[in-house]
Structures are given as structure tokens and as C-alpha cells.
Point group: none
Chain length 131, copies 4
């Protein structure tokens, strides 16, 4: 459970938390039913306001990635199932398109992008929670 939060990034702190939790889940570093650090714990660990951590946890719960049990804490969902939201799907496609165009302007080759994609799927691979 090591978080790497950077307040200098223009990505909101709570989103950085969301991203990292999802990444750790996807990579199998966090297993279903595993306990996450409590709001207060994590907030003091990464020196951030508890409300900010809470906001991230709430959003993760809304997405079905984690679940909270009253008085006991927060845990990785054991019964995650895909959303298949067409709006999100479209948003992701746009994000990919934008990344490709931006990469083109920075002089990154197509092969580089494809190898990155391959690399990301390697990291997830095999550990896929649905398998």
C-alpha cells in the first residue's frame, strides 16, 4: 500500500488516489476483500486532508471498486463487475485519441505508443480479477 501522491501535478489529489487504487487492483497488488488503510491513516500517511481521501474512497465505492462496511473500514470489492457505460467508453476513446495526437506533436513514434500499450497489458495480464 504505497501511494505516490504529487500535489504539484495538475491532477486533483483525490483523482490521483483513485487512479492508484484502480491501478493496484488491476495489477493484482490489491486482492478482493483486502482492507484499505482507513481514511485517517491514509490521510496522515500521505499528508493530506482526510476529506480528500474520503472523497476518493466515495468515488471508488460508487464505481464498485471498493466497498465500505460501517464501523469496520474500507475493502476491495469481491464482486466487481463491468459497467459497460457507453458514455465512459466514448470518453476513454477520446482520451486515447488525444494521447495519440499529443504524442504525434511531441515526436513519439507509433511503435513507442504501441509498445507502451503492450507493456500496460503485460502488467495487468494474468492477474485479471475476473479470470
Amino acid at each position: 500500500m504505497y501511494f505516490n501522491i504529487d500535489p504539484k501535478k495538475n491532477v486533483p489529489l483525490y483523482e490521483q488516489i483513485i487512479h492508484q487504487v484502480k491501478e493496484m487492483c488491476a495489477k493484482g497488488l490489491l486482492k478482493p476483500e483486502e482492507k484499505l488503510p482507513s481514511v485517517r491513516e491514509l490521510s496522515s500517511q500521505i499528508v493530506i486532508n482526510p476529506n480528500t481521501v474520503s472523497k476518493a474512497y466515495k468515488e471508488l465505492e460508487r464505481q464498485g471498486v471498493i466497498m465500505t462496511i460501517r464501523g469496520r473500514g474500507t475493502f476491495i470489492s469481491e464482486d466487481f463487475h463491468f459497467t459497460h457505460d457507453p458514455r465512459k467508453s466514448e470518453a476513454i476513446k477520446q482520451a486515447l485519441k488525444q494521447a495519440v495526437i499529443d504524442s504525434h506533436y511531441v515526436g513519439i513514434e507509433k511503435e513507442q505508443v504501441e509498445s507502451w500499450i503492450e507493456e500496460f497489458y503485460q502488467e495487468i495480464g494474468g492477474e485479471n480479477r475476473e479470470s
Copy 2:
């Protein structure tokens, strides 16, 4: 020069303009030295505050994508060259990673992502301005 701006998206309007200009350039729909609509023209065309268009143009100029000639108007740069900024490169890699993870949570298959990437490069295709 058809812009597709949607104020309901959570992407800032000025960024949407930037994205679309860059996309059109990458696809060859806008050629070097081609004239862009004036701030006033564009702002009335897409019903938007002129300041917003101005902000987008300023940023595009800063990135070297377009250039303004006083009294003549705004044009696509003819001498654009890649930046190779390692920070931007890293940011793009992170964006790609996040898109891959998010797609995983929405139930999008690896093949779908790869086909999208291929599709985007097809669109840019032989029209690459520096080829």
C-alpha cells in the same frame, strides 16, 4: 473548418478548440500556411466568448502550432518541429496508462483498444506534415 464544441463536456472549451485544431492539423485537414478564422469569426461561429477563443489561439501559438501575423491574421505554422519534451512524454504515457486501466474497468477488451489506436494512426496516415 468545422468545430464541434460541446460546453456540457467537462473539458474546458478552450482546450476543446486546441484539441480540434491540432487534430485537424495532424489529419492534414489544415495545411501549413493556411489561414484560421479570426477570433471574432470563430467566436460568433461557435457561439462562445471571444476571450475563450483568444486563449486557445494564444496557447496554440505558444506550442508553435499556429502563428499570428499582425494585421494579416492567424496561420498554421509551416515550420513546426517536434518538442521531445520528456515531461510531456511522461504525461502522455501516464494518460495512456490511465486510459488502459479505465478501459479495463469498463469492460473494453485489449483488442478494441489496439484497434482504436490503429484507427487513429490511419487517420493521421500519410498526411504527416513532417513526412
Copy 3:
């Protein structure tokens, strides 16, 4: 006496117990004077903190649904009578209104809601304790 308690719900555990006891009473599955499991029994049966069960029993007793006889245990009241509290009545009306509005937003038809209501009253049916 089968309880179905789910700590993942956002309904407090002690309220879930209260609901289920009242439901079983209303359906006639628990008859007046019938003995309830002791706090310890129930808390170990549904794997829950004894304090939580105790809290539920206290509230049920306050509402007159059950009664505790020191040294003998806890029993369903035989002399329950309606409260006719106008504030509770209003609260229930509001809850129903909210459920109707929410159902509308989820796309549930009026007929579905009415059939559910009918179903619930069927379950309570001729077993009404004061009939």
C-alpha cells in the same frame, strides 16, 4: 428465526435487525409471547457485535414490539397497540413519496409499484396480530 443481515448495506446493522423482527411479527412468523434468541445467541449466530444486537432489542422494546423479562429472556409483546403518531405517519408518507419519485427515475412503472404494495400486504395478510 433466520436473520439475513448484510454489513455491506448502508442500512445500520441494528436497524436491519429491527426491520426483520418487525417484518417477521407482521407476517405472523413470530407470534406474541414467543421467545426471541438471547443477545449472545443472536450475536454469535449472525456474527455481529453483541452491543449491536442489544441496541436493536432496546429500540424494539421502546417501540413496544418486544419485552424483556429479567432472568427469563426477551419475548414478543402480547399487548401491542398502534401508536398513531402523526409525526411517524408523516415520515412514512414522505418515505413513500420519495420511493415513488425514485422509482420514476429508475424507470419503474406505476403498475410495478402497486403490485409490490399488493404483494407486501398479501404477505402480512390474515395473519395480522390485532385482527
Copy 4:
């Protein structure tokens, strides 16, 4: 746009706002594309913290009831479509069941409940946004 918020209720303030907006929409008192009061406006009107109003608006947006346009304000969605979430559906059914059981304990007759339901649908009727 009259809100009736009561801090003494045990329903959270932001939920009361959510309920009332949804109710006004369902009744046709708020039309699609209509502007809602700004966060600051509403918060000063009902003497509440802006963050609380913001939280309510965020949740309403998540549910697709309203939409926010950057720098312009918050508006009723014109393209609302049902969610058909089976989990929400089940939650609503449970809420209805609980209301029926509670009403039974307060001495409310079946006919009274049914007449309330009918009344609520009368208020919504005809003005249904999807018609």
C-alpha cells in the same frame, strides 16, 4: 424555486436538496434546460454551507438529473434517460416494503397507503418529462 430544508430532520441536508430537486422535476415545476440557482445563491437562500449545496448538485449530476456548464451554471438535463439499475430497483422495493410494515405498526390502513401512492402519481402524471 422554493426549497424547504429542515436541519432538524435526520435526513442529511444535501439529500433533502436532492429529493426536492427530483420532486420538482418529476412534477414539472422544473423544466428541462431551466437554470437552477447557483451554489452560492442557493446556499445563502437556505442558509447553508456552499459545499453542502455543491455536494447535492454533484450527486444530481451523477444521476443525470441536472448538468453543469462550466462558468455558466447548473441546468436541468434535457436528455434524461432511465437508469434501470437493478440494485437501485431492489433498494426501492425494500424501502417500500419497510414503509408498508412501518405503516402497519403505526396503524395506517392499506387503503390509506394506496391512496397516497395514487396521489403521488397524480402529481407527477401528465407532466412526465419522457412523454
